[in-house]
């Protein structure tokens, strides 16, 4: 049995320790948003976050994630749309959509580290994710849109914090 946390939930999986995390997520835990594309970490369709870092779940063995915190596309938003997901819809990015979970997880890791990436930085960060439909230019626009909306939210939040009297939380 291998124990880890996925999308905030503790799980204990009975699978061979050398099983790729991808198959554990998809077929043992039945969370199919994370996709199989190549199995050799070339296409990025299987990208998840392990302790906040983007990782290729097809090339990560189950035994390597014992005790770790994993986030998949299903856990990217907590009941509301992540700004990237909202931007993906606004820009109508997906075509077939199969690679888009991986694209979003890679983009989310980028914006977490670099909230205002340049176009070149976006391309460099996203270059490991293949899209066969050719949605690349729309992905770039969506990442830029999400970056702007996150910045707005952050400054609105900062203003609210300034305007509001200091309160203590429990």
């Amino acid at each position: 049995m291998t124990a880890f946390t996925i999308n905030g939930k503790s799980v204990d999986v009975a699978a061979d320790p050398d099983t790729p995390l991808l198959w554990v997520i998809r077929e043992h835990l039945k969370m199919t948003g994370t996709k199989f594309g190549c199995g050799i970490a070339q296409c990025g369709a299987c990208t998840v976050h392990i302790d906040g870092q983007p990782a290729r779940s097809c090339s990560t063995q189950l035994q390597a994630v014992a005790g770790k915190n994993i986030t998949t596309i299903e856990g990217l938003s907590n009941g509301h749309l992540h700004p990237l997901q909202a931007a993906w819809i606004a820009e109508q990015v997906p075509q077939c959509g199969y690679c888009q979970s991986g694209q979003l997880m890679t983009a989310a890791a980028l914006l977490a580290k670099n909230p205002k990436p340049t176009r070149d930085q976006i391309v460099a960060a996203m270059d490991g994710n293949i899209c066969r439909c050719g949605t690349y230019s729309h992905i770039i626009k969506a990442v830029q849109r999400a970056s702007r909306s996150m910045e707005k939210q952050a400054s609105a939040g900062a203003k609210r914090a300034e305007a509001a009297p200091a309160t203590t939380t429990r």
Partner: protein
Amino acid sequence: MTTQTKIEKIETAVVSRRMFLVGTGAASIGVAFGPLTKRALAAMSPYQATAWVTIGTDNSITIVSPASEMGQGSMTSVPVLIAEELDADWRRVRFASAPDNQPKVYGNPVWGNTMTTYGSGTIRGYYEKARIAGAQARKVLLWNASQAWKVPVGELTTEPNMVVHKASGRKISYGELAKTAKVPDPLPEATKDDLKPAAQFRLIGKDHGRAEVPTKVNGKAKFGIDTQMPNMLYASVLLPPVQGEKPASIDDAAAKAIKGVMKIVPVERAWGTGTGIAIIGETPWATMKAKKALKVTWTTDAKARSYDSAKVAKDNLALAADMSNAGVSLKKEGGDAAAAIAGAAKTITVEVTSDHLSHVPMEPLNATAIVKDGKCDVWASNQSPTSLKGICAKMLGMKPEDVTIHSTFLGGGFGRRSEGDDAALAALIAKEVPGRPVKMIWIREDDIANDLFRPLSAQRIDVGLDAQNNIVGWRHRIVAESIFARNNPFFFNNILKGKDLVATVGNELKYEVPAFESQYIRTDRGVAVGAWRGIAEGYTKLAIESAIEQIARTKGQDSVAYRISLLREQPRAVKVIEATAKMAKWGSKLPEGHALGIAYSDSNECHSAVVAECSVDRASGQIKVHHMWAVVDPGVAVQPRNAAVQMEGAMIFGLGAALRDQINIEKGEVQESNFHEYKPLRMSEIPPIDVKVMPSGDKPGGMGEPGVSPVAPAISNAIAALTGKYLRQLPMLPERVKAALA
């Protein structure tokens, strides 16, 4: 592509009989259309609504979307057509997919009313049929309102989701009507004459968010590979390294010893493409590990054993040059082309080859099947439930009606998911464990090595010119394997008479020439080929556009002006060429070492042109595409933004095919295994692309493919402008370019 082609008899979508069904308890009405037979009518319980349109008492409108959704937007665009004529409030529209077993109701008229989504045929096929369905549903609602209000139907009109009686000022919503709706008798007829003029379109030609996009950003969209069923088993398949072979001996002791492995059995591929070995087990990983542990020797007698793709390309070019082999005549127009060429003052000969290509949809091939009590259910990403039903039934020895196809979203299709060899394999595997669902997953290496590749083609165009370099005769010969000879020999021999559209389409000319002939020389060397996005246009347009370019240069004419001079009867073509040239600032000064090239294509009843700005590093032979501009006239753009996006995506597909994509086969074995060797273009490799959609209002074409074919010739022609050399080998690999420029 098993049974129909677009040139053969098209069964017209006449809505001759229809049924209006009242749901009980469900508080909804359904309207079913289509040429239902008496038997079908009798078999259909009035409580089972099979329908294009269902109206909920909550005022929701559920519209059936008959086409596969693989990213091209059909799931939304066909309902837009229905909603337009139904006068539906688009915000209230919901979507339902069509069942697999009523092709006469839901089938695509351009594919003989089968349930198929390929050849950019959805809008072409459903543009009229779907609108008539919408118009008829609207008439049914009008009839119900006229009954309720005791006023003549002629006094009623509609607003979105609302029937209106202007004289009395009364209005009733479609949802309200649904509560008491009855069956009109006789049923109102709807014909072409009932359809709105384009000027009145409220929904067609406007951008609507694609229906399924929200589910594709949160992991909820279900693709075939996402199928989950209680008690489900998994299967991996070890397929023969050379097509057409079989295991000679199998040592499965080590494989069977792996925990979770249940059964290891030989399994036959369709069309005699060989026999593989299926490993059935409790987890995908167990079956994948067992696959690696299998020790197999294979037979060595397949025809494909002697297949070396580099040599086949040379052989095919020789066949193209051998005029004693006339092949099958595809088209003759005007005078005697051969005589005109023989008597010409000058001839230009264009020789073009294209290597095999793999489709590599991002979702590797897979299917889930269950076989039980003489019936089979299959869950699969697919482009043709009709083809899947047929091939599964054939391989299982069942009747098509005993096979049910459950379709999901497709993680890319591009032609690969049109035949169903994956589904048939899964069905045969499931037969080994009756009553248990089995999900068969191909790993990427299986997907590439066992693709139905784009044909390795050779072409030769001979053009006869008079003393002023005017065209007097044009002969286009195409050498390639046949798709239909493999998957439907009867159809190929008796209906198509040896012509293979998928292998040869695009040779017909919009350019005016006084004598034209095209010929197909079929090869049969044991490597299965299939439909690849853009089909033969991906190579025939390179041959044509490169020939036109060479003639323009021979005449000393501008590439744009010369093309226009040959298109006097083709105003739509002229408009897109002029618009593309304008967009690309044709004729203006470019950076040193850059040049523009243009190509035109009439792919899929659209008119499109691409201009590419390119440079080439002469030392390495590496071409760089700096920018591409495209204009497309699809006739009608049902969803204009989506049309532009399809054009862009197809151009990227075509760009990879032009510069890099290549499957090499040596002694019958595919040399490329995964994305480190067969490399789809990445984000950093995509030049800026500007697309303009310019609908003329003419009959709609299909937008899934037109972007593919003009890209390679636009690039080749840019290099011709730069260097005077014509690049006519696909892909235009650096070493080939270097050799051509030397």
